[in-house]
Symmetry: C3
Subunit: 205 residues, 3 copies
């Protein structure tokens, strides 16, 4: 490691990515079991707050570190982009409770599974970032995130088509569609992280 604080930065980036992955798994658990469970929602809220704290710590570390392993603004953009995923994960569960949605459809379950798998790919890409010289491998990992995002998009399209097919109450449609859209935006935010990582790799190629 060429930079005195290099290891610390990459460890923190990894921690943030792991928190995103755990949050996606907590959402899958929340949906699979008991969507109105206040205790399980609390798990997701705690992970979101943990994400805010971790992101803030990186910003503080950036501000007081003289030499950083990547450009400061790039590390900032990366951790901010990962933090954005968390907001949409928590927001999806939160709205299920807040809107008092009448039932949990299979489509919610399908979307939450794709989200977990996308978050796994994000965590792998974040971990590989410390090995910048291996640009081909990191870029391949970003393509994998894009592929997962396309899968999420397909799952979302199917979910919304099913919703219009099966649900006839307009207010239920409004509520459920917003949550489906929110879950799909969470995977869109994963793709944004892939974009930031690609940009970092190319800049340092």
């Amino acid at each position: 490691m060429l930079f005195p604080k290099g290891k610390e930065f990459f460890e923190r980036i990894d921690l943030i990515a792991q928190n995103v992955l755990e949050s996606a798994k907590a959402l899958q658990d929340f949906i699979a079991n008991s969507p109105t469970s206040a205790a399980k929602l609390k798990v997701l809220e705690d992970k979101e707050h943990e994400g805010d704290r971790l992101t803030h710590d990186v910003i503080e570390l950036l501000n007081k570190t003289f030499i950083t392993p990547l450009d400061r603004e790039d590390i900032h953009e990366l951790v901010s982009a990962m933090d954005d995923i968390l907001d949409y994960i928590f927001g999806s569960a939160d709205r299920m409770v807040l809107y008092k949605i009448p039932y949990i459809s299979d489509e919610f379950k399908a979307l939450s599974r794709v989200l977990v798998r996308t978050a796994e790919e994000v965590a792998k890409a974040a971990l590989r970032l410390k090995d910048l010289k291996n640009s081909q491998m990191i870029l391949a990992q970003c393509i994998e995130i894009n592929r997962m995002e396309n899968e999420a998009d397909e799952a979302h399209r199917h979910a919304v088509a099913m919703l219009f097919e099966k649900e006839k109450d307009p207010v239920n449609i409004i509520k459920i569609k917003e949550i489906l859209d929110h879950m799909e935006t969470a995977t869109d935010r994963c793709e944004d992280v892939a974009n930031v990582i690609e940009s970092i790799v190319l800049k340092n190629a």
Copy 2:
């Protein structure tokens, strides 16, 4: 000031931030008093056009200035991000008229108050940018914007839950929810400005 045009750039950034704050106040006024008043909507439209003009002037100045106090692309990103707030402020009022919404709920008023307070914090952060050495203070100001955005998020969640509770007409729900979402996006855009400012501070730390 080390740069010949430094003072001028910071004055213009400040002007744009003040225009955002005035626009947020005009929206609060619009909502508090007479939502269908064409005259008050005109005030908001004028402020949006003023914002476009101010942003365009900064781009022109950037293009003809040799040395700038911050990287050109950063000043461009900052003024563009502030301009985005204006679009959502005007868009919220505009939709109230265009959609002929049936009533102004207390939730609109609550959200517009939080938006004014968030815009006040944005204006403070923009003003402090000229004192880049004082990075701690500027970053603390950005945290304040994030805190206000969380408050807006809470107000928005409450507003949408109330809407589903009280309003039973689906078309009214669609109209009012979009405006509530639009107002919340305006505070999201304030957070984007905080992100740009953080990035500038860290890059120059």
Copy 3:
């Protein structure tokens, strides 16, 4: 051309912009004629895949080229921003089929016409990028994109007002409004491209 691969990069940027323009025209054709035609939807899907391939090729070329005519991260941001337009163009047509929308309104046609004209301005701006010294002309072209985006915004506002006026079925409103919003987001993404181009011009001024 000062850079060995300069010509190749600008040719590829131009190809991507042309693909966006053709995609906008294919959407206009799709809407004008037979919205449920699987064959015409396939044209749009092919163009989206072609866009993914072209974008990916540029990333590969960036990763293996030593000296690039613009900063690598800027070329990456530009082609990613252009690719985003494609997603919203295809997504608009795709949803018309998927949601089984009951009719094609004149408002869809009007919005698709403005989108084609905006994409034409994007293609012109992308083409001019190779002549970076002529910054005034490129910036003027970006203002033209912004002007078109304002026109699209007007067309969208009118379309949504008409929808609330004429359509009384809430589920139809939900479906049609989302597609109108999607088409308007496609022109928003054109404005994002203008923003990236402005930023590149100013950075290199």
